[in-house]
C-alpha cells in the first residue's frame, strides 16, 4: 500500500490540517497582491479625489480582482476566527454559536462589499 502520510501525505485529503494551512497562505498572497496593485494606482494615479479613487474600482480587471479578494478575505477570516474559537471556547454549543455567527458576519459583509462593487 502506498504511503500517504507524513511527508507523502495526500494533499487533496481531508483532516490533515494542511488544507487550512495552505488556503490561509494562498488567500494571504492574493490580498498582498491586491494591496500592491491598489497602492501603485493610488500613488501614481494623480491627486486623490472621488473621481480617481472610484475610477480605480470601476475598471473591469480591478472589479474582478477586488471580488476575488473579498472572497479570499472572507475565507481567510473564517479559518482564522474558527481557530480562535476552537482555542478559547470549549463548550461545543457555545463554539457552534460563535462559528455560525462568524459565517453570518462574513457572508453579510462580503455580500455588502460585492453589492457596492457591482453598482460602480
Amino acid at each position: 500500500m502506498a504511503i500517504n502520510y507524513g511527508s507523502k501525505r495526500l494533499v487533496v485529503g481531508a483532516h490533515y490540517g494542511f488544507r487550512d494551512w495552505l488556503s490561509q497562505r494562498a488567500t494571504a498572497v492574493v490580498m498582498v497582491l491586491f494591496t500592491l496593485a491598489l497602492l501603485l494606482q493610488v500613488i501614481f494615479g494623480g491627486p486623490l479625489g472621488y473621481d480617481s479613487w472610484s475610477g480605480i474600482f470601476a475598471q473591469q480587471w480591478m472589479k474582478v480582482l477586488t471580488f476575488v479578494v473579498i472572497v479570499a478575505l472572507a475565507y481567510h477570516a473564517w479559518v482564522g476566527m474558527r481557530d480562535v474559537w476552537m482555542d478559547y471556547i470549549k463548550p461545543v454549543g457555545l463554539r457552534l454559536v460563535a462559528q455560525v455567527a462568524t459565517i453570518a458576519w462574513l457572508v453579510g459583509c462580503a455580500g455588502w462589499a460585492v453589492q457596492v462593487l457591482w453598482r460602480l
Binding site: R25, A28, V29, M31, V32, T35, G49, Y50, W53, S54, F57, A77, G80, M81, V84, K90, T102, W105, L106, G108, C109, W112, A113, V116, R119, L120
Partner: protein, 145 residues
Amino acid sequence: MAEISKPRSKARPGANMRLVDALQYRLPVAALVSILHRVSGMLMFFLLPFIVWMFDKSVTSEISYDTFASAFTAGIGFVPGFLVKLVVLALIWAYLHHATAGVRHLWMDATHSVSKQQGHSSAVATFAISIVLTLALGAKLFGLF
C-alpha cells in the same frame, strides 16, 4: 515560575489555564508578534462592517464621498471625527502588523528558517516595519504633514 510547579486544581485536573494566569508570563518578542497577529486579525474581523462602510461611502457617489471625508473631520452621527481617526489608525496598525507578520510566516515557510535567533530577529524586524509605517501613516492621518 513558582506557580507552574504547584499542583493543578484538585477539582479539575488538567483544567485550562485562566487568562489572569496566562498574563503572568513574560513573552519573548516572537511570541508578542504571534499574539498580536491574532489580536490584529480579530480587530479587523470585528470592524469589518466599518471597513465595508468606508468602501461603500468612498466609491458610491461624490455626495457619499463627502460624507466619508467629513467623517474624519466633522465626525459622523454621534461619533466625533478624532474617534473615527483613532479607529482608522487602529485598523492601519492592525493591517500592517497582520500583513508583516503574515509575510514573516511565508518567509519562514519558504526558507525553513526556524532557528531561535532568526525567529527573534525577524520578529524585531516585523515590529520595526509595522510600527514605523503606522507612525508615518498616523502622522499623515492626523495632519502632521
